[in-house]
Symmetry: C2
DNA sequence: GTGAAAGCGCTAACAA
DNA sequence: TTGTTAGCGCTTTCAC
């Protein structure tokens, strides 16, 4: 019941292993026949037997001798995180359709873990690597580049690295779009509830909110809540905002969104009459809620698609690019025109 | 900058490759020295040079010749699903500490996809496979067993398969515990809101709820909502329950839990005075909510730990076992004694 | 068009 | 205690 080998195939056909290997590795022509200097007839016979035995070449052996390894490495800080796993899922989907296997690893935001994983991947001689880097560890990534292994960075940038592909999100741009959307719908007293965290994406959103408000002659105001007391503070902020007559709230993290929403319901506030709200990140709750919620989607799966495609191009020898993905503003009933 | 090979190491040391290989593959003794018939001194010299060059053996080559491959395959229906990814995460964590690489795949509940992935894994000659099987495809799994590759089933059972390990959740047992907990706290009029789905875990919970109620001389009642109109129906069910004077609600799926909770808040019902509630599955919302929510944890990470450990034992030649994991009832303020 | 032969980096009999 | 030899399954010159 063990898999048949190329050698056995060759023997049964009465040809050399070389011949079989060549047929198998030739690029396919438009009409589906292999593009190599093998007689059409022999090639057909080979393919038929391959089919009959459902022969699958051993990637191990192929890789060893120097061929493609059909293996990719993917590292995220935490595969259990919804956004990262959505990205990873998409990569796996596309890659396995192309015959690649995926090795996943979670760095857990620990540089040593990331280093370990990279070493592992290099040891396995993967064809390419996609990684959401954790802070404070570019040496291992540099090593990847030095070894000539195509590398694509996702979501977080490391500017010092050269020759790597990047798929990054335009957080500032999306927040600008949010504010403009609210302004266009007649909202003026727009506030943000944000969290005191050292995360670039959040800082970008805060900064962009302030800039856009000021550029439109309005005064920005951010409630900054501490992570540890986030729920209580968020709820307090919502009550304050309601009392003050704030017209719209932007909540740039999903936990803030959820707690703000809960407090609005708790306070009996009507959305969007008493308070409009823009949430962040993807949740099935946004579209089942009534009214539906206007939110900024991270497009995690699109990021996966783009990263994989870019990696493919790089594996074919094309130059590394930087792709900016604009997060998508999904309009809902929580910010209708007033 | 490319990795050094065992052969080069051997040449630099003036010994044979065999010698080096033996040192490297020997099990470690308590004092950290390799347990083989190599002179302590030579062994030390080998290890020193390995260290100096940070040599990592090529798993490809090792695997090819018949040694361990240090590679595991993990298949879940959807790695983007929180529960599965938590399990996968834990497996990866433990496995990579032992030097294994993990190949992940999502079957997307599609038998053909599962078959493909399994073939891939067999082709890569993984040392072991952990899978949450999708319905309707046991042939590929049988193939795994036939090839002598240790296989562990997670969460879903396929009784016909022999010689496989299993880590299953005791859904009926946990629901029994839920009902008993409520009874013990003085609740009598206990109802369940469930969804009309063909999923074993849900059926188990419904059955167990009914049985336990009847066994205690109480009348069970289940609101069955359709998946497609789940939100509206769940909310309606909550309103009905409040009107009828129901004392406690069990919601055996996370979406039902969330919508029931939202409707309770919407209706201004006090928890647990007007209605106690037991939610299901893990969510950060349960512990940040006030009052905190009593819920049944799936223990996805524990399942991962147990599955990995079991697989390890099987890879060492031990017999396959079946492990039942009792889901954990986490007590919160939503079901306090009345 | 096709095949012989030499490896890729490693492990495992079998000798010494 | 150590080395010799022969592969694992495949790709790749180079020769025919």
């Amino acid at each position: 019941m063990v898999n048949i080998t190329l050698k056995e195939l060759a023997r049964e056909l009465g040809v050399s292993t070389t011949l079989v290997s060549r047929v198998l590795n030739a690029p396919l022509r438009a009409d589906g026949t292999p593009d190599c200097d093998i007689s059409r007839d022999t090639a057909r016979r080979v393919l038929e037997l391959v089919d009959k035995y459902n022969y699958k070449p051993s990637r191990m052996a192929a890789g060893l001798r120097g061929g493609k390894r059909y293996m990719l490495g993917v590292i995220t800080p935490d595969i259990a995180n919804a956004s990262f796993s959505a990205t990873g899922r998409r990569i796996e989907e596309l890659a396995s359709a192309d015959g690649y296997s995926i090795m996943f690893g979670s760095s857990d935001e620990r540089p040593d873990r990331q280093l370990e994983l990279i070493d592992h991947f290099i040891g396995q001689k993967v064809d390419g690597i996609i990684v959401t880097p954790c802070a404070g560890e570019d040496r291992s990534l540099q090593k990847v580049v030095d070894q000539g292994i195509p590398l694509v960075l996702i979501n977080r940038n490391i500017p010092s690295l050269e020759g790597v592909g990047r798929v990054l999100q335009d957080y500032a741009g999306s927040t600008r779009a949010v504010v403009k959307h609210l302004l266009g719908n007649g909202y003026r007293r727009i506030e943000m509830i944000s969290e005191n965290m050292d995360v670039l994406s959040l800082k970008d959103r805060e900064r962009s909110y302030c800039e856009t408000m000021i550029a439109n002659g309005l005064e920005p105001h951010i409630y900054k809540v501490e992570s540890i007391t986030q729920e209580i503070e968020t709820r307090q902020a919502v009550r304050d905002a309601l009392k003050k007559g704030t017209e719209a709230l932007i909540t740039p993290r999903i936990v803030l969104s959820i707690n703000a929403l809960l407090e609005l319901m708790n306070a009996g506030a009507r959305i969007p009459e008493d308070m409009a709200i823009v949430c962040h990140d993807d949740s099935p709750a946004w579209i089942t809620h009534s009214p539906t919620i206007t939110y900024v989607s991270q497009r995690s799966d699109d990021v996966g698609t783009l990263a994989y495609r870019l990696l493919c191009r790089m594996m074919k020898g094309e130059l590394a690019e930087q792709i900016m993905v604009p997060p998508r503003l999904v309009l809902g009933g929580s910010t209708v025109k007033r």
